[in-house]
């Protein structure tokens, strides 16, 4: 029989042959160990090539994503769905650096501009949504979600002495971590959030892993208990 040339074996391995020709190559390989070995070497090379250059997330992608989002001023209000897909596990490492994520998302939300309601951010990553600001300022963890599904979870101080609180904006499908600065609450991390449907829930148990990771990265000391949380609130988070 003919010695099959490298090209047809290569096409077989790359899935570029019609089914009948592919079957003929397989039959030839079954009948001839030499052909089988060549086919096998090509297969291993293909597998090894993917291993040699994995498509992994890179920390520098966050800055590029920010550039892309800033680069084209088109608008859409369907951002929660986008956020969910962008933060899917596959790409999660890209967004895990909380500061970079806040920067990216701040740019994105800044473009929403004139939206009256729902979650909103100033372009610098400050939280501009009046309802959420009120919840961060006043609400206690024990009070659970308000009518719009907004709740606070953990409260603590970071190493710079800022008060930080995790929150969920249930109706908007996001949860995050915000820290108090002189001019308002600044977003440190944000992740898609699905409110649990169970009757008993604790905000911290629902907090998405990227937000908890941001807490771990920032926290200095312990989270506040209910009494300390109420005192900090009454003091205006100063």
């Amino acid at each position: 029989m003919n010695r099959l040339d490298d090209e047809i074996l290569m096409r077989r391995v790359d899935g570029e042959l019609p089914p009948d020709e592919a079957a003929a190559v397989d039959a030839a390989a079954a009948a001839d160990p030499g052909t089988a070995a060549r086919l096998d070497a090509l297969r291993r090379l293909r597998g090894l090539a993917r291993e040699a250059f994995p498509a992994t997330a890179d920390p520098r992608d966050a800055a590029l994503a920010a550039r892309i989002l800033a680069g084209a001023p088109a608008r859409t209000t369907d951002w929660t769905g986008w956020l969910r897909s962008a933060l899917a596990p596959r790409l999660a490492p890209v967004w895990a650096a909380s500061a970079a994520a806040a920067f990216v998302l701040g740019l994105a939300f800044g473009q929403l501009g004139g939206r009256d309601e729902g979650f909103a951010l100033a372009p610098d990553g400050g939280i501009a949504d009046v309802g959420l600001v009120r919840v961060l300022d006043r609400r206690l963890a024990a009070q659970g979600p308000d009518a719009a599904g907004r709740a606070v979870g953990l409260s603590f101080r970071d190493a710079e002495g800022r008060w930080c609180r995790t929150f969920a904006a249930g109706d908007d499908g996001v949860a995050g971590l915000a820290c108090r600065e002189a001019d308002g609450w600044r977003l440190e991390a944000l992740a898609p959030f699905a409110a649990s449907t169970g009757e008993v829930r604790t905000a911290s148990a629902d907090t998405p892993a990227p937000v908890l990771a941001a807490v771990d990265a920032l926290i200095a000391g312990e989270t506040l208990d209910a009494a300390a949380e109420a005192r900090a609130r009454d003091a205006g988070w100063r």
Partner: protein, 167 residues
């Protein structure tokens, strides 16, 4: 943000992988990804919605890479080869996470291929594009793509065999 922006963000890991396969250093790959993103944003009017953004962006990247390679060829006439070699080796060592020895050997072998073959290998073997898509990205007829791919692969298998790596 819109569909174009979303897709381009989602494409970043693949763009970076392609860049790392065609560039000889991680720093060059980062520059290539960055320039590709800039050019894609600047030329977004040239992208037809409904067509493949990945092919379009890869094509932009391929063109920028070729421009760089030409500029590099001019430089290499004045830079001494010894200097260049030192810089490359240092960088490769730095970018070699925890890959198995055979994957590392293949990475080096791919980077040593001639440009045409390296691009074909990067598009088909590393990224997994079809021959038709890869030929379109490279701007060559399918037959040309196929022969570059055959020669590239033969060379890789020979190189690995010579190093005692079984592939």
């Amino acid at each position: 943000m819109d569909g174009f922006q979303r897709e381009l963000v989602e494409l970043l890991p693949r763009l970076r992988r392609f860049a790392r396969a065609v560039c000889r250093s991680d720093a060059d790959a980062q520059d290539l990804v960055q320039e590709t993103v800039e050019r894609a944003l600047a030329r977004r009017a040239g992208f037809r919605p409904g067509t493949r953004l990945d092919s379009w962006a890869f094509t932009i990247m391929r063109r920028i890479h070729i421009d760089h390679a030409r500029a590099g060829a001019r430089w290499s006439r004045v830079v001494t080869p010894a200097d260049e070699r030192t810089a490359e080796v240092a960088d490769v060592g730095q970018a070699d996470e925890d890959l198995r020895a055979d994957a590392l050997a293949l990475r080096r072998a791919i980077r040593d291929l001639p440009d045409d073959q390296r691009l074909a290998v990067a598009l088909v073997l590393v990224d997994g594009l079809s021959y038709a898509e890869a030929a379109a990205v490279m701007g060559v007829p399918p037959g040309t793509l196929t022969s570059r791919l055959v020669r590239g692969r033969q060379s890789l298998i020979r190189t690995l065999a010579a190093q005692g790596v079984s592939a």
